[in-house]
Every structure is written in C-alpha cells, then in structure tokens.
C-alpha cells in the first residue's frame, strides 16, 4: 500500500448533510404504520412513596383505550443496564411494583389508538400512594438514618466490596507533610440535560414471521436489543433493531427505556406500538448528566510542584445507577488531571437519591473532573505566585509517566497542545516552556 493518503484527511462533505438540511432525512418518529398504537406512561407524581394500589377503571372507559401494561406483564421486571458487562445487582424496575423512588418513575403504560386518547387515559389512572421521606443531597444520603433509596438497602453503589471507586498511588499524607502549601477547593455542579433535538423514541412492529422489528434512535443497537431480550425473556433472534438517522445523542440515548415496553406492547396487542418521549419527558424523566460534588486537596511545593492530590467525589446517581458506576470509574482514572503527581488518593462515590436517574453524557465522569481540577490549578497558581501557564507546564505529564491508576502515559501531548494554544492567542511563553516536549523524562527523573 502506498503511504500517501488520498481521502483520509480530506474534508469530504458529510453524507447525511443535504438530506438533513433539506428536511428529507427520515428519523424514527417520522415513520407511521397502519394500526399503530401510542404508548403513554403513568408516572409517579411524588419523589418517594409506597405504591398501594392502581385503579384503571376510569382510564379503561376512555374512547380509544386499548390496554394497560403493568409490572405483572413484564417477564423480567428488575434489571440493570450494565448487567451485560457483569455489573450487579439488578436494581431498576421497568414498571414500579410497590414503591416509587423518584418523581416521574414509570408505573403503568397505557396503549391507545391515538396520542390524545393515551394521554387522557393516563390522566384518569388513580394511584394510591403513601409518601415517604425523600433524600436529595448526596452527603445527606450517606448519613446514618437517611431514607434508603435502593431495594437492596444501601445508598451507595458497591465497587467490589467498597462503597466508592478507589485510587491509591504513593503516600498522599506523606506528600501533604512535605508540602509548602495546602490548597483546597470544593466544586459542585447541577444536573444537565443532553438536549438532543430529536427526543428518545422507538416504534415496535410485530412481523408475520413472529419476529419484532424495532425502529429506534438508540446510540447502541445491540446494547438495546440484548437488554430488551433479557427484560422480555425472548431469544435475541426474535428481535430486529433498526437505527439510521439519529438527531443527536450526547449520551442521552444509551439507556434502554422505551424499547422493552414498546416491544411488549406489540407482543400483547399484535399491533405496532409507538413510544416517543415528549420534550418534557426528555428533560425531566430521561436521564441527565449527574450532579457532582468534588473535594480537592493538594499539597504543593513553594516552586509550584504538586506532590500530593486527594480527591473525594460524589456523583448524584438519582434513584437508579444506570451507567453512572462506569462514569465513576472513568472519573477516578482522570480526576488527577493531565499532571504528573507522585501521591494521589481518590474516592469516588456513586450515591443514590430520590431524583431522576442520571446516566451517560458527553464527557462521562471527566467533564466535571476537568472543571474542578482546572479551576483548582488556577487556585494553586495564585497561592504559589505564578501564572496559570507556568503551573500547568511545571506539572504537565509526559510519556512514560505512571498515571495514578498505574498505566504508563502514552500519546501524551499536553505540553505541545499548550504551546500551540499560546501561539494561537499570542501569549509569549518563557524559552524553557517553549523548549519542553512530552518525550519521556531522563531516567534519573523517571520516578515521578
């Protein structure tokens, strides 16, 4: 093969560009099928309650009502999305049984001839609820006596026997003892919506051969198919998932929420079933980016070297963990930032509260670590009395440095990237920083 590249590196026009800007691209919700039913969800109006009864009698009288789906219709009603990669325990209820854990939790699915009939029937379902105390603050949820959110009796996700994801590298207390400055910060963020233009949704069709075709805008077709197969206890070969155009994901379409119930509806009625979120469901019921609280304590020498970093992070998972435990691990691998620090301690907690479950979003566990660490870097620079460029060049990691999670750095280019940024904005760096590279350190320094 020739080494010269012909098309990699060229800005060819995106293949879906013309279709999307002229309104011709076909998205999931653009499809319609004869006899298609509409699914709308009866949701918990409160944050935490015992569910003592569901009365469908008035809903059933609504013109166009076809049937309801309750937890008793769901073959495997308690599941965990990441069960596919071995994450335990099974914890999320497809449809609530005797307790609701967040405002908006699905209780009964209504299938009707039209969207309007489905919404009217939803409004006529009577719920008998006995409200329970709710917990919303991550640190409060960890206190003894706090309301317990999970059905298995703990407000933290357990990481192989520990209630947080740990990183232990070097001796952080020794580092603090040797430091000239201790710099501390507490950083917090609120939940954020992925805000795709196209809301989450799918249409499930019964086929003549006994299979079910599911048009879906999921970010991960097999992830959705395999979880649907588990929840409905049907062999995977009876399911055919088709994607195509997706109007943005940003992590908001990796949970498997709509496909199992739409497919179940198609099985029970032998008719196509459409389950597409409204914008309000997308914003308030669909997973968001977790809120985070991140405590950072750094030990720094008088010349600006960070020699110890301790990070304690809490991700507010909401009522179910979904993809958040993975985010915590990814967070732990990146919470020290792109810096060479010889002593690091990280505790990252996945905390359950009575709010909408949180899950994946662009930057998964890293975005908020970057916010905390990069504001902290400026705090350190100010304390030491150097500028923001200097503190970053002094501590930048290089190839061959061992990261706190004990992986040697490769493909490190932080130094070169900062040099390019300085040129871009016309900031004249000291010669010593202009001359730096990410090449491995000389061996006598290699132990950092």
């Amino acid at each position: 093969m020739t080494t010269e590249l012909h098309v990699v590196g060229q800005s060819v026009a995106r293949s879906d560009g013309v279709g999307s800007v002229t309104g011709r691209s076909l998205f999931t919700a653009d499809r319609s099928f004869p006899g298609m039913l509409h699914l709308k969800m009866v949701r918990s109006p409160v944050h935490h309650a015992l569910l003592k009864g569901v009365d469908l009698s008035e809903a059933e009288k609504v013109r166009g009502f076809v049937r309801a789906l309750t937890h008793a219709d769901v073959p495997h009603n308690v599941y965990t999305i990441l069960g596919l990669i071995g994450v335990e325990p099974e914890e999320e209820f497809v449809l609530a049984v005797d307790r609701v854990r967040y405002k908006g939790e699905p209780i009964v699915a209504i299938l009707a001839e039209t969207e309007a009939a489905a919404m009217e029937a939803v409004s006529k379902v009577r719920l008998d609820l006995e409200e329970l105390p709710a917990v919303f603050d991550v640190e409060e949820a960890l206190q003894p006596g706090a309301p317990v959110v999970t059905h298995w009796g703990n407000n933290t996700f357990m990481f192989e026997g520990h209630n947080c994801r740990r990183v232990r590298y070097g001796d952080v207390e020794q580092g603090f003892a040797e430091a000239d400055h201790i710099v501390e910060g507490v950083y917090s963020t609120s939940p954020i919506e992925q805000a795709p233009l196209e809301t989450t949704g799918c249409i499930a069709l019964p086929e003549a051969n006994g299979r079910y075709t599911v048009y879906t805008n999921t970010q991960a077709l097999y992830f959705s198919l395999d979880n649907t197969s588990i929840i409905l206890q049907v062999p995977g070969n009876r399911l055919h998932f088709i994607g195509g155009m997706v109007g943005g994901g940003f992590g908001g379409k990796v949970d498997v929420i709509v496909e199992p119930l739409a497919t179940l509806g198609a099985m029970k009625t032998n008719r196509p079933v459409r389950y597409v979120y409204s914008r309000s469901e997308e914003m308030q019921v669909s997973s968001t980016r977790s809120a985070w609280k991140i405590r950072v304590k750094d030990g720094v020498t008088s010349d600006g070297r960070i020699i110890a970093r301790k990070v304690t992070s809490y991700a507010d998972s909401g009522a179910y963990s979904r993809q958040t435990p993975y985010a915590l691990t990814k967070h732990a691998a990146n919470a020290a930032g792109p810096y060479a620090i010889p002593n690091v301690w990280i505790d990252a907690y996945c905390v359950y509260t009575n709010r909408t479950p949180t899950s994946a979003m662009r930057g998964f566990g890293v975005t908020m670590a970057s916010f905390a660490i990069e504001v902290q870097m400026d705090r350190i620079a100010e304390r030491v009395g150097v500028d923001p460029w200097t503190i970053r060049f002094l501590n930048a990691y290089r190839n061959g440095d061992i990261k706190p999670h004990r992986k040697p750095a490769e493909d490190a280019t932080l130094i070169e990237t900062m040099q390019a940024a300085a040129v871009l904005v016309g900031h004249d760096l000291p010669e010593a920083f202009k001359a730096m590279t990410s090449d491995p350190r000389p061996t006598q320094e290699g132990g950092r």
Partner: protein, 332 residues
Amino acid sequence: MARLRGTGMAAVNYPTGMNLGGDPSQALVHATTSGSFIVTLSATDLGQGLRTVIGQIAAETLGVAYEEVVIDTADTDTGPHDMGTFASRATHRVGNAVKAAALEAREAVLELAAEELEAAVEDLVTDGHGNVLVNGVPSRSLRIADLASRAQFQYGRTIAGRGSFMKPKSGVDPETGAMDPDSTEAHACTIAEVEVDTETGEVAVLSIRSAYEVGRQVNPALVRGQIVGGAWMGMSHALYETTEPYYPSRDHSPKDFAEYLMPGPREVPEIDCVVLEMPSSNGPYGVKGVGEMTANSPIPAIVNAIYHACGVRIDSLPVTPEAILRGLDALA
C-alpha cells in the same frame, strides 16, 4: 458599575474507548458487481458524521474513490456486533474494524489482479482512484471495478472482508484502582475571554480559542464542527444549563426549551481553533478521537476568566448572574 474583562485558561486530556467492559466493534465489507463496496455495520451515526469518516477510512484502505463506498449502518440483522456510539470510541474502534475488513477485501482484489497481471501480490499497489498497478509499471494496471465484476461473473469468487477490533476488558483493582481504561489520549488547551457586567451579574463570553491535538484527522471539517459545537456546549454548561436550577431541590424544573436556558445566536462568541496531529499508535491511520472532549476545557477556562475579570472565584455550575452578584457583594 462596570463591565470588566478577563481571560482564563484550561488544559485537559481525554481518553478514547470504554474497555472496562470489553469494547468490541465489527464490520463487513463486500464488493458489488459494479465495483462499489458496501460496508455493513450495526454501529449508528448520531449526526456527528460516523458514516462519512468510516467511508473515508474504507475508501482509503481499499484504494477506491470515496464515492464508491456505501455505508450501511444500524441494522442488527445485517450488521455485525458493535458496542455502541459513545465514549469517543466510534472513529477509533469502528474505524479499526472497517480498516481490517477493507484490508481483507483488498487482499481478494489484489490476488485476482496478481493472476490477471501475472505479477506477485507484493508488487501491486493501488492509486486511490480505483486502479491496481504493478509498482513502477503504470502501464500494467487494472480497474478494481472490472476485477470485481469478473470475480463474480467469471471466477465465482467473493471480494469481501471481515473486520473486528476489540480492546480486551480491563479489570479494576478495587484497592488501588490500577486499570487500563482507554486506548489513547487526546488533548486540548482553551483560552476564554469574558466580560462581566457588575451591575447585572451577567457574563458575556467574547472568545473561546483552543488548540487541540486529536491524532490524525480523518475529516478536518467534521473535527472543526465538533470543536465549535463543543465550545458552545461548554459555554452553555458553564453559564446556563441545568434541569434543576435550585439543585438539590427539585423545584422549578424546566420542561421545554423556553424554560431550559441555553445561549442563542446573540451570545455565541468568536470561536477559533488550531488542530495538531500527532498520530496515535493504535487508531486507524493514527486516529485518537474528538467526540466528547470539546465541551470540557471551555468550562473551567470561562470560570477562570470570570475570576480574572472581577475577582469572584466560582466553585459551582452553572454560573448564574445571582452567583456573580453574591460573589461581588462578598468581596465588597
């Protein structure tokens, strides 16, 4: 009361891949009778341009024009398994799988060409425009389209390839956190300039300028699109967005885009970037990935710029006008 300007910076790394659970992607490639190539995937394009960059990688490897490659995505009956489009993994993982599949199909083309040209496979090259040539003897060449047609009607052979890429699952040591969670690291450094109105507490972002190092760019216009879109998203995260404005209270939650605040066209700053290319060792043609990271560095850069402008150190997102005014009051 004044409008105070400041600049702030941030520098970040971002990992590619999600292999803490195993991270496979697979692809199939086959030639049609007219010498086009169909790439079949279950991976899905979210609108970021996956079809386009995968088509480029397949065309590059096969030695044909980009227009000759058709990408059939997102069907579990036809496309082999893929983990999903997330974790900045698709261009790297799916790209590697497609490259492997295209190499196998390319081998089938070259074997046939070797027979017809009476040359050794090792002596054959492709020109990127759909021709196989004997290296150094341009007169001895064949069109890949003709070879594909003859493979099917004359020789009864397949021109096809299977490709798989998987970084095996890394366990995590629960005591120390030792793990291998990713394949490569991309980097960014952002400098933001803001203007803080000390009377209203409002923050206007004037510019977001960044350097990125993302390995090989398969499609520079799409990379730039990610950087510009991500700068907007980062600015939006820093100053506007949340589903729970009084977190941890659940009250006053927005339910549509009228209530959920985001910057509009009037608020979008000057966004500029420079992109370095330092190819990775394990991505297709040196790809790293630029999917998720572009919203990250703008957030702390804006927060640091606010401090530089007015002396208010912000620790909590989003930075509302109320937070700025309370911070200014505390300084007074």
